[in-house]
Amino acid sequence: MRRRLLRIAAAGTALLLLAAAGPADSPVNVPEPDGIWTGPQRGYTPATLSGATVIDIDALDALIARDRPVLLDVSLADRRPAGLPADRPWLPAHRSVPGAVWMANAGAAPLDPAHEALFLKRVADLTGGDKGRAVVAFCHPECWGSWNAAKRLVLQGYTRVHWFPEGIEGWQERHPTTVIPEDSAWTALANGEAQR
């Protein structure tokens, strides 16, 4: 009985492994939403993003070597859980692609107008106002945030937008990560809100 259960479990695992070989190969075929995705932010993502290029780690490496793209990390920040005692060390550190600019949750939808405007302004700053500059959006596998961030830029007329769905996990398979602080303008906006 136990052995049979194990066998079933093993078969199930193998199936899942086969079915989900990579972030771009979701077991279910997720169609592209019409515009920004406002559903749950965590879950299977589409294999495509019209108007942008979906890249794997090989393509990202090549792009970085060739074009020095603007790297946009839109991962969520770790929030101190309510109820964690004050004497527990709370030392969140965000590890990401070296050189990336981190605007936490900038791929959220809906995004309030102040954040949306700041996101677009920061990208305009980072690209030097060149809408043809290569830009890469990423967060984690099965994270809609980077899909949305890339889509936002496509909708704004950026012509060389890349989406890297493997995200930080895909990067750290091959390269060291580094602890990066959140973009200071992005943090300043959040802090300003908290003070209101």
């Binding site: 492994l17 989900a20 770790d78 859980p81 309510a82 005692p85 060390p89 550190a93 750290q172 091959r174």
Partner: protein, 290 residues
């Protein structure tokens, strides 16, 4: 879950690719007599990474142990964990302490978790401190440190690098209500007892151990942290162990520990959580038969 399972495939492919790349690269370099010299860019990246991880450990060390000296050890404690975890929210950890009679307590620290101090386990006279197993959440590729406190008050540490990510925020895949069903139920299982040998026991507690970092995907609210912060195990009038836990302990905690041979009386387990939950159960340990 599927995401966690999916990773090894991706990883294996990447691994094969990097091995192939390394071999291809190494061959011409070896003939040039420079096989051990990595490319400058990569070398800088890797050592920066190590320096950064070391700096973080020093910061955590200071916050937990202050200025006390911690000596590296290969003999007093060993951490075993899968190098690559299948499920980052359920990473099995084994702490082995061969010189068990010297050990008073062990601290488990997951460096890159935002709340790194996962557990502190203090052993009493009823315990066999040779081995502890538990399951933890791992948020990111990280060093895991075990720090042993000896009976004479010294600290010794060892470390192991573990590849897993997303464990702290991974949702449980069910509603909070469902996850809390039967909260506080316990089971205690014993390995077969042999005369004069320590008895291995496995404690299982039903409890979601909500990390406070898990988001409800529909409401986008975070489930408040609700986790077991203390487990006290006694046998008769002797303390076996006391575990101070944190949000890094996996849901439905499972802890393996050893009992001193020849112990008497029922085994009592008292578990409490950070929201004033308290559960107490008593178990009868098997006695060795000749």
């Amino acid at each position: 879950m599927i995401h966690a399972l999916a990773k090894p495939v991706l990883n294996r492919a990447v691994l094969v690719r990097s091995i192939l790349a390394a071999v291809t690269l190494a061959a011409p370099l070896a003939t040039a007599g420079a096989a051990l010299v990595p490319s400058p860019a990569h070398a800088a990246g890797a050592s920066d990474d190590e320096a950064e991880r070391l700096a973080r450990w020093k910061e955590i060390q200071k916050s937990i142990f202050g200025d006390k000296t911690i000596t590296a050890t290969d003999s007093l404690v060993k951490v075993d964990a899968p190098v690559r975890a299948m499920d980052a929210s359920l990473v099995p950890i084994t702490l082995t302490m061969p010189e068990k009679d010297r050990v008073a307590a062990v601290h488990l620290i997951i460096d890159d978790n935002p709340s790194p101090y996962a557990a502190h386990i203090a052993f009493g006279p009823g315990a066999d401190a040779g081995e502890i197993k538990l399951r933890v959440r791992v948020n990111n590729y990280t060093n895991i440190h075990a720090v042993v406190e000896t009976r004479d008050g010294q600290l010794f540490e060892t470390t192991k690098f573990v590849k897993a990510s997303g464990g702290c925020s991974a949702p449980m895949g069910m509603s909070d209500e469902e996850a809390m069903k039967g909260m506080g139920d316990m089971k205690l299982k014993f390995a077969e007892a042999q005369p004069g040998r320590p008895v291995e026991a496995t404690l299982m507690i039903r409890h979601p151990n909500f990390s406070g970092m898990q988001m409800n995907q529909i409401t986008r609210d975070y489930t408040p942290a609700r986790y077991i912060n203390k487990i006290a195990i006694t046998r008769g009038d002797k303390t076996v162990l006391t575990l101070d836990g944190d949000i890094s302990i996996s849901s439905n905690p499972v802890i393996n520990f050893g009992l001193q041979p020849g112990g008497q009386g029922p085994i009592k387990v008292v578990a409490s959580d950070n929201q004033n939950g308290r559960w107490e159960h008593s178990f009868t340990a098997p006695s060795a038969t000749n």
